[in-house]
Amino acid sequence: MRKLRGLAPQLTLLPSLILVAVTVYGFIAVTMVLSLTKSRMLPRFDRWEGFDNYARVWNHPRWEVAMENFAIFGILYIGGTLFIGLLLAIFLDQKIRAEGALRTIYLYPMALSFIVTGVAWQWIMTPDLGLERAFQIWGWDSFEFDWITQSEMAIYCVVIAGVWQASGFVMALFLAALRGINPEILAAAKMDGASGPSMYWHVIVPALRPAFLTAIVVQGHLAIKSYDLVVALTGGGPGFSTELPSTFMYEFTFSRNEMAVGASSAVMMLVLVMILIVPYLYSELRDGDR
């Protein structure tokens, strides 16, 4: 009797556990299996292809573009948000008047969807009508800003919109971390003669290590998943010049009826995330254990 009642907690957890076990772990397994089959429009588990699908993914010119873009986008997006976020956080931490209002302004893009962001930036970056026209009318006649129409440059438009959207979040992370630094440490550093920039460089930035780690992990995993922004901003174009792993996966799975290839690319994306997340989760759970 007592034993049975003692199970109530575990039983309440059960529905969620089953849901997650099936829709996260079960589905990962299914997708992995699918990536080894000859599935095209519908999943089928009777014809095996082995690892050839992965070879196809890696040899596909679009995947090559996707990986190249992913590298550009990933590095610039993470680097950009970290730089702007840290800069704004440090500057905001100087007893700034109207800090609340500024913080609100920096962070509001985070409330928007990537679709809205994409739509807005697409409009802003429209040559002839957007920023380009604005600068020309303001007197800078030779100003040109038509990256969004150029295959070579369009991915940087995605970077700009992404950085615009997410820098505020990184700023919030860093600001919270800055405010969490033990004031006694700062006082001690001051007594030891540190001031201004050297204080930041030697004392404060090292204390932000956990915030850096978190920001990199979160932004990195967003960069890997990132799909909506490209769809709304460039539609993957011009051509497929702004292809990312996520758009590749969607295209092959749902438009081209190459489900097995799509599944293989999805597994590749998972692998990327795992490389980033697993060490992080492992250390978090170990340290976080009470």
Binding site: Q10, I28, I115, G168, L173
Partner: protein, 294 residues
């Protein structure tokens, strides 16, 4: 002495300059969206009479016509009924998805923090991992499961998907909140004769308002802003607002109506912006604690 003070005020000036320029950068798209949505197409394209218009000049003849069109008459695919019905699709989806995922998360967090059992940390770790998976890895099997459950393409189907992938987040929020509540409270209640559910409902729920706000805001923004699941799983009748907006802007034929596009984008953005303005503090806490362990 004087030069030192000059230097200091120069530095402060520089700090303010950077902060204000950044503010301008962050505000610019919003301003462009609002202005454009209130303009007519001739004004936007700089036709005769509007030669000096830029995306950042305030509308000369403000009009909400584009808003009306975006809401109820703009053409999306074949139907010319605006975003209205999609807006309500999203509302319906959000209400149920948020309610269910937050309630499950609350109970899960309660169990994982206050009724520890062997392997509870492994269970928690398994749930936590669910926060980070790229959803592309589940799209294909999920489409199949929705078919089997006979909810493919429907709003309940979307609700189901959002609940599944919302549970890891809500559980994380509540678990991290409840571990900060002293265990002695639960012990006292057990001695006083309260059982598993009475402890939850009578003792913990009444003090959980802050974390409910965080979880609700997080889930609301996440589900409302979702595009991938909507695009992958919604049938024509169940399409959420973000998918419709993307269709409105990116797949319409003929000349682009930027004012309607921007009005549509604003309609899609307003609910979450409102939440952000009203519950900003909780919004930030959600963002940061969703990312960081407690």
């Amino acid at each position: 002495m004087a030069t030192a003070r000059n230097r200091a005020s120069f530095e402060r000036g520089f700090v303010y300059l950077v902060l204000l320029l950044s503010a301008a950068f962050f505000l610019m798209p919003l301003i462009a969206m609002i202005f454009t949505s209130l303009k007519s197409m001739p004004e936007i394209t700089g036709a005769a009479g509007f030669e000096n218009n830029t995306i950042l000049t305030p509308p000369k003849e403000p009009s909400v016509a584009a808003w009306g069109a975006a809401w109820s008459s703009a053409c999306i695919a074949v139907a010319c009924e605006g975003l209205r019905s999609y807006f309500w699709n999203s509302v319906l989806m959000v209400v149920f998805a948020v309610a269910i995922s937050v309630m499950l998360g609350a109970v899960n967090g309660y169990v994982l923090s206050k009724w520890r059992f062997r392997g509870d940390n492994i269970v928690f770790g398994m749930l936590l991992f669910g926060c980070f998976i790229p959803f592309q890895i589940v799209l294909i099997p999920m489409a199949r499961l929705l078919g089997i459950l006979d909810i493919a393409g429907t709003i309940p189907g979307l609700v189901f998907v959002h609940v599944c992938y919302g549970i890891p987040f809500t559980t994380l929020f509540f678990r991290n909140f409840y571990v900060t509540i002293p265990d002695e409270l639960v012990k006292a209640a057990r001695i006083d004769g309260a059982g598993f559910w009475s402890i939850f409902f009578l003792i913990l729920l009444p003090i959980s308002t802050p974390i409910f706000v965080v979880a609700i805001i997080w889930q609301f923004t996440g589900v409302w802003n979702d595009f991938l699941f909507g695009a992958s799983f919604a049938g024509a009748d169940a399409r959420p607002l973000m998918v419709a907006l993307n269709n409105l802007v990116n797949t319409s034929t003929g000349t682009k109506t930027y004012n309607i596009d921007m009005a549509g984008a604003m309609i899609a953005a307003l609910p979450t912006m409102l939440v952000y303005i009203v519950g900003g503090r909780y919004f930030v806490r959600g963002l940061t604690s969703g990312a960081v362990k407690g």
